[in-house]
Structure formats: C-alpha cells, structure tokens
C-alpha cells in the first residue's frame, strides 16, 4: 500500500479546497489536494452567475461597502448565521476579488458611458463614470441592496476555477484526481489524514498529514432532484460524521430552486421569470397569481418552490416518465429577447431537451440546489470534535448562510473562507508537530478493506445498491422537501429507519474490480442515509419556519425558541442522530428583525437576551438608514 505525507491534506479540489491549499503552499508548507474528478471539473465551475463583493465600482453599486454586504447577508440568512463570520466574510471579499484579478481572472470591467438594463421585463438606463473605467464591475442578484456580483461573462465559476487551478500548478501543489477519500484516520482526539480509494484501479492508499481540510462541496445528490453534479454526494460529510465526534450543523437547512428542467434538473436561470416568463400547469393555465396575488412568478425562490409544490399536490402537475412537473413559458418574450438576454436558457433547451423555447414549453420542477447544512466549524474553520481537522466551502457550516444563502454569496465564500481558513491552518501548522501512530492507521485501513470485501461478496446481504439509494432519495423528496410538516416528517424518519437497515445489507451485483462505480456508491450509502435522517429529524424538531426551512404547521419564525443552530451528532452504533443546539451567534451586530420579504410572522426573542449580546457597530445606523 502506498503512503503519502504532506503538511496539509485537502480533500476536495474545488475553489475552496484549492484556495486553502494555495495559502498553505505560499507559506512554505506542502499541500496535497485530492479530487474525484480533475480539479477544473469540480462543481465550482458550474456556477455561472457570479460572486458577491462590495467593491462599489459600477454605477448601481455606488455607495456599497462591506457593512451593506454584511446586512444583506445577515438578513438573507433569516438571522440564522454567525454574525462574526458574516462580518469576516464581507470585509475580506473585496480584497479576495482583487487578488483573483492579480492571479489571472478576467473579470468583466466597467465600461464608461450610457447603457441599458432590464428589470421585470422593463428597460432602464444607467451611466458608468469615466473615472471608474477598467475597474471590476458587478451585476445585480436577488436579495442585495446594491449591484455587487462580480462576474466573467456567463462563466464566473469556470473562469475562477481555471485561475485557481493554474495558481496551484504554479505553486507546485500536488492535485491528484480520480482519488476518493473514504474515511478519516484519527485516534479519537486528532485527525491524521485519510484512507483513499484510487478511482483508476480501485487500490487503497493512505494519505497522512498534520492537518486535513474537507472541502468536498454540497450533498444535493441525496435528493432525487438536484441541480448538483453527480459527485456532490456527501462523501466528505460522511467521513467526518462517521467518526461520531463531528456534528453536522443545521442539517434541516437545504435550499431549493423553482426551475430545474425535467428530467436532468439542470438549472434554468431565475432571469426567465424576472424578464416576464410564466409558470403553467397541466391545463396550460397560470397559477402563481392565485397563491401570490402581488408578486406572482416574481416571488422569492423559496416561495415559488412552495407554491409549485402545492399546486402539483393539488393534482395540477404534468405527468411524465420522470415524475410530475410544471411548465415554464417564455414563448411570448420573443426571438430577439430569447436569443440575446436568455441565450444560455436557449442553449440548455436545445442541448438537453431538444426543444425551441420560442414555440415550446419548458418542463420544470422545484429542485434541491444548495446545502447550507454542513460540517460544523468555528470561525477559524476548525471542525468541532477533532484536532487538525478543518472544513471550508459548501461542505462546511462555517455559518455565514444560516437558513438561506443569497445568490452569489457561496461562490464568494469558497475563496474568502478558503483564504481566511487557509491562514488559520498555516498558524496551526507553524506551532504543531505530531506523530502518526501506526496502530490507528492500520486499524482504519483494515476496517475499510473488510468493508470492501464484505460488500463485494455480499456478506451482509444482497440488496441492490441503486434501489436502496432510490428509496432514500424518494423519502426525502416526499417528506423533507420544500414543504415540511409533522406528519410528513415522521413518516420520512420512519421510512429512513427501514432504508438504514437495508443500506447495511447491500451487496454488489458486479465484481467491484477496478474503477467500479457500484462499489463507490455502496460504500457511502449508509452514511448518506444517516445524513438524510439528520435532515428529517432536525426538521421535525425545529417547530418554526426560517429561511428555506418551511413548516406548514409552524409558519412563524420563532426567535423566542429557535434562535439557535442544530448540531446533529451520530454516536457510534446509534440508529438516530443525537441533536444538540447552540446559540446562532455569539453577538449581534444586527439584532433580529424582518427580512423584508417572504412574509410570515416573527415571534420575537427575549429582549434582554438580544440587548446583552448586541455590540455597538456602525451597521445599526446604516441598517436604519436603508
């Protein structure tokens, strides 16, 4: 068996992972990144919209600063985020965008003079200042007070990912692809690295390091319908969670997007509705205005997803071999609009559906999109429970998103958190020496070898991996999706109990030799069901509605009882998660208030609790002025 050593082992080579690795390498430490796919194929490259940073260079971003960005982020989180973290993030974001520019990102720049933009199908005019020519510009995104989203044409994630990966090559960082970490090596106190399966030949390897960072992105694939890449399957979360020592933060906090196309759930932009597209049901009739008379199709992501689900439940969905869906209609926007402003949508329709959106309807349904849930860390990115273990990016619950993340804030988080947490890891590495005890290493390797042997030979049973996985995905879709209620969640937990039993009894149909996919799927199945169970159980316990977590039976946001974060532990041998809670934020720069959208009553928190924790900051005044 091959063993590799480095100072820092980064599991995941998306934007967050590579940014962390760069920080370590720049400071003279040896960093290694592992990835299932070549780094540039990481899901970060799929983000087209952009990343938020308060540079305030463009006309509609004038007067923007990190205070305003901070306020938007906290409001967006429905006061579910850690405000210290949101503050760190908002302050560092502009510097990080400039750093990316220096490293090679071709950000779009300010072009002086008059130009036009569209809002809700209407045309507006703006003027860019001469003196700002050539500075990084920004576009508008939902939920922000200013235009703050930096971008490169329609491929921000791709462009930033290229630059970051180039930077890694320049710094001589080992970025290994087709390597999947399958478990952590630890002694109950500190983390020493990971056991890794080479996806070229199926061999196991050991990667040892003084510090390990999990940057494996989201886990949308445990849902049946998701915008996420097929590799976003929770493997990284499972590694940490399985130790029994590390909690998943806010597992119930999952974001859904109203318009994934059917069957593959590829995202079509919100811009369709923004520009005047409508949603139709099985009878090709509009319905959004019935539920939301004022905003109709233009209501927020969460609201539209909820109404669509409600309407399908009422029997108005379109049946298809891939399940029910609704229609998105942009025919009336006309050829010119579609081939210019919505070019990307046009291409998706052409490539993946073989339809022309000028004359045909687009099949859509609400779809899992983002996991605010994640491996719980403190503000330094250090994972609760194990020394030397860190996490950043979508995989982590660093917690700047709380219960709802704003568009453009997650791509920015990958590099900002990567920089901040990378620096903290460097501090840690500077003052840290360790020994790797062969006992822990050998025991872990042996345990994995046995697992592989057992599942390959059907030692525990012969249940079909893909069927059991489907059962889990469907249970979540049914009980733990856009809408939640006591009955549905109880049923979901109950079903998942059964699924858990089954997951322990899967056996391969194939021989599992080489780059076998069935084996990879089987190895993480039980861990996935555990994650699913955490989502369902935490959602059942949280008797309020906050951000993306929506309880039909508890429509209020209840700050009196639920201004806290769920920590879902999975003790060894248990059948249920052990749920604990901690304060949402150690201090308030912005005391709890109204988000300004999404409606709903708020049951206020104890006044004394809030005042005791509120710190003086310029934000309160700016917040009032807005």
């Amino acid at each position: 068996m091959q063993t590799f050593y480095s100072d820092l082992l980064v599991i995941g080579a998306g934007l967050s992972g590579e940014r962390v690795a760069c920080e370590a390498a720049q400071n003279g430490f040896k960093a290694t990144c592992l990835s299932i796919v070549p780094a540039r194929r990481s899901h970060s490259s799929a983000a087209q919209g952009g990343m938020q940073a308060a540079l305030g260079n463009c006309a509609k971003g004038e007067g923007d600063n990190s205070d305003v960005h901070f306020i938007d982020t906290v409001k967006g989180s429905d006061w579910g985020c850690d405000q210290e973290v949101a503050r760190l993030f908002a302050d560092a974001a502009p510097i990080e965008m400039r750093r990316l520019a220096a490293w090679g990102v071709p950000w779009n720049r300010v072009v002086p003079g008059q130009s036009f933009y569209f809002k809700g199908g209407e045309k507006f005019e703006k003027y860019e200042k001469e003196e700002n020519e050539g500075l990084i510009t920004a576009r508008s995104f939902g939920g922000t007070a200013k235009w703050r989203t930096c971008y490169t044409s329609d491929g921000t994630g791709h462009a930033v990912m290229c630059t970051m990966d180039n930077r890694c090559a320049q710094l001589g960082i080992d970025v290994f692809d087709k390597k999947e970490a399958i478990s952590l090596i630890h002694d109950g106190d500190k983390c020493m690295g990971a056991v890794v399966r080479d996806l070229r030949n199926g061999q196991l390897e050991v990667h040892l390091a003084k510090a390990t960072a999990i940057c494996t992105g989201g886990f949308g694939r445990i849902y049946k319908a998701t915008t996420n890449a097929v590799i976003c399957d929770g493997a990284g979360h499972i590694l940490a969670h399985e130790t029994g020592l590390v909690p998943i933060g806010n597992p119930e906090s999952i974001q859904f997007h109203p318009t994934g196309i059917v069957p593959t759930d590829i995202l079509v932009t919100e811009g369709c509705r923004g520009d005047g597209g409508t949603l139709l049901d099985v009878n090709e009739e509009r319905f959004m205005h019935i539920y939301e008379p004022e905003k109709a199709e233009l209501a927020s992501r969460d609201v539209v997803s909820r109404r669509m689900t409600e309407h399908m439940r009422a029997g108005k969905g379109v049946k298809s071999p891939y399940g029910e869906h609704l229609w998105l209609d942009i025919r009336h926007l006309g050829d010119k609009h579609i081939s210019t402003k919505l070019r990307e949508v046009d291409e998706i329709c052409h490539h993946f559906l073989g339809i022309d959106p000028r004359t045909q309807l687009i099949p859509v349904r609400p779809t899992q999109h983002y996991t605010m849930a994640g491996i719980r860390t403190n503000k330094d990115g250090a994972v609760y429970g194990l020394k030397g273990l860190y996490s950043a990016g979508e995989a982590a619950c660093w917690d700047m998103h709380g219960f709802n993340r704003l568009g453009g804030n997650s791509l920015a988080e990958t590099v900002v958190a990567g920089g901040i947490i990378g620096a903290k890891i460097v501090e840690f590495l500077k003052g840290y020496e360790t020994t790797f005890d062969t006992k822990s290493i050998n025991a872990e390797v042996k345990r994995q070898e046995e697992r592989i042997h057992d599942v390959t030979h059907g030692r525990n049973g012969k249940l079909n991996v893909y069927e059991v996985r489907n059962e889990m995905q469907e249970a979540l879709m049914k009980g733990c999706f856009v809408f939640r209620n006591k009955e549905g969640l109880e049923e979901c937990v109950e079903t998942l109990h059964g699924t858990m039993e089954k997951a322990r009894k899967v056996g391969l149909v194939s021989d599992g030799v080489g780059a076998n996919h069935e084996l990879a799927a089987a190895m993480k199945l039980e861990g996935q069901v555990r994650l699913a169970m955490c989502i369902a159980q935490a959602a059942l316990m949280r008797t309020e509605s906050r951000g993306s977590h929506n309880r039909e039976d508890f429509p209020e946001r209840n700050d009196a009882e639920w201004l806290n974060r769920t920590l879902a532990y999975w003790p060894e041998g248990a059948d249920m998660p052990d749920l604990q809670y901690e304060d949402t934020t150690p201090l308030f720069e912005l005391p709890p208030g109204d988000r300004g959208y999404g409606g709903g009553k708020i049951i206020p928190a104890d006044e004394k609790y809030v005042t005791e924790r509120t710190v003086k900051s310029p934000v309160t005044e700016i917040g009032k002025k807005k």
């Binding site: 500075l135 791709h158 071999p321 080489g514």
Partner: protein, 246 residues
Amino acid sequence: MGRQLKFEIFRYNPERKGDVPHMQEFILDETPNMTLFIALNRLREEQDPSLVFDFCCRAGICGACAMVINGRPGLACQTKTKDQPGHIILHPLPVFKLVGDLSVDTGVWFREMYAKTESWVHTNKVFDPVKEEERMDNSVAEQIYELERCIECGCCISACGTARLRDDFMGAAALNRIARFVVDPRDERTDREYFEVIGNDNGIFGCMGLLACEDVCPKGLPLQNQLGFLRRKMGITAMKQIFRKK
C-alpha cells in the same frame, strides 16, 4: 411509444484478470428527452453495474463525459438519443490512457500540459491587498475569457491526426492555452519565451492545419483562428531569432 435503442459499447477493464477488449450490446427503451447521460446511467443501474464511464456536471459544462459517439468525439451528457440512429456505438476517446470501458484519464494529460505551457500568469508584480485593482479594458477581459472557455474535455486532442501519431504533440487545447496568455496583458512573457515552449514540431509547427479539432470542440472555441494567430506570431519570432543569430 419510443424506439428500442440498441447500444454497442466498448468494454475493457484493465484491472480484471484475463479481460480482453470487446464490444457489448444492450437494449433500452427510449424515453422522452433522453440523453446519453440518462441512458448510460440506466444501463448501469438496471442492467450491468460493472459499466465504467464518467459524468460530473451532466450539463455540458465540465467536460467529464467526452467519448466517441457513433464515430465522433462529443459530450455524452448533451447528446440526445433522438438525434442518433437507433443503433448507438460508443467508444472511449483515443490518445488518452484508458481507465476502463468508456472512461479515460484526461486529468494526468492536462496536468502535464499545464506544466509544459506554464499555464499561469507570469509576472513580477506582488499583490498588494490595500491597493485598488489594476485596470483592464473590458474588451480585453472578454477576449481572454473567450479563450478560457475550454473545458478540457479532450475531444480536440482525440480528433487530431498529429496527436494520434505522436505522444508529445501538444494539441489544440494546449496551443489555445498559450494564446490565452499571449493576449493577457498581465502575463509578462515575451514572444521569445513563448517560442521556446511551442516553436517546434511538438507545438505549433507540428499542426497539419486540418482542423478536425475545431469541428469537434463542443464549446465552439475558435481553434482555427488561434492556431493561425500563433503560427504567424511564432513564424515572425523564428525569423527574428534567425536574424539575431547572424
């Protein structure tokens, strides 16, 4: 209802003792909006879980799923079965090392390419976090992005006659990568320095100019223009060097 599709898929698992390369047939009912992503996953989940192939984004963005589809390199995820005949023949991309069945190792190939082309901005400037960003013309930024749209799928390399004949030919993707840095004002490399990298038969002078690369590029990158641009530029650089030597 839909057609019955016949798939003929290349099979070979180098890790399995005694395995030999062969073609295997599968039958699948076509459903509306079926892509090769859906079809291959169904084949693996319902018929043969040992089938090896790669997908990641399944949205035509990441380049993971390139394979030879009825004789032509392309992205499987954005290939609709309804645009194909009822008999679909799938092979892995040539040139790259085979991992198994339809999966090849593009990762190592492209990593080596980054090293050869020194695929990063070469500059002596040090980043200053308190300073305003350096300005850039928006049209230049857009020009750079147009060349950076390559998703490293490997289609162009697989379609290239020279790359098939010679292991060390850099291929259109690598030459396009150089062009990306040539147009970037932040990169301080001189033409001479670029010439050292690509001014030879492994680089720009090995290209036969038949442009199979541009025909198959799923991102529609202007490979033809870039190859022409570099050939002219490198031609001039070569001339300058010859004269300088005298």
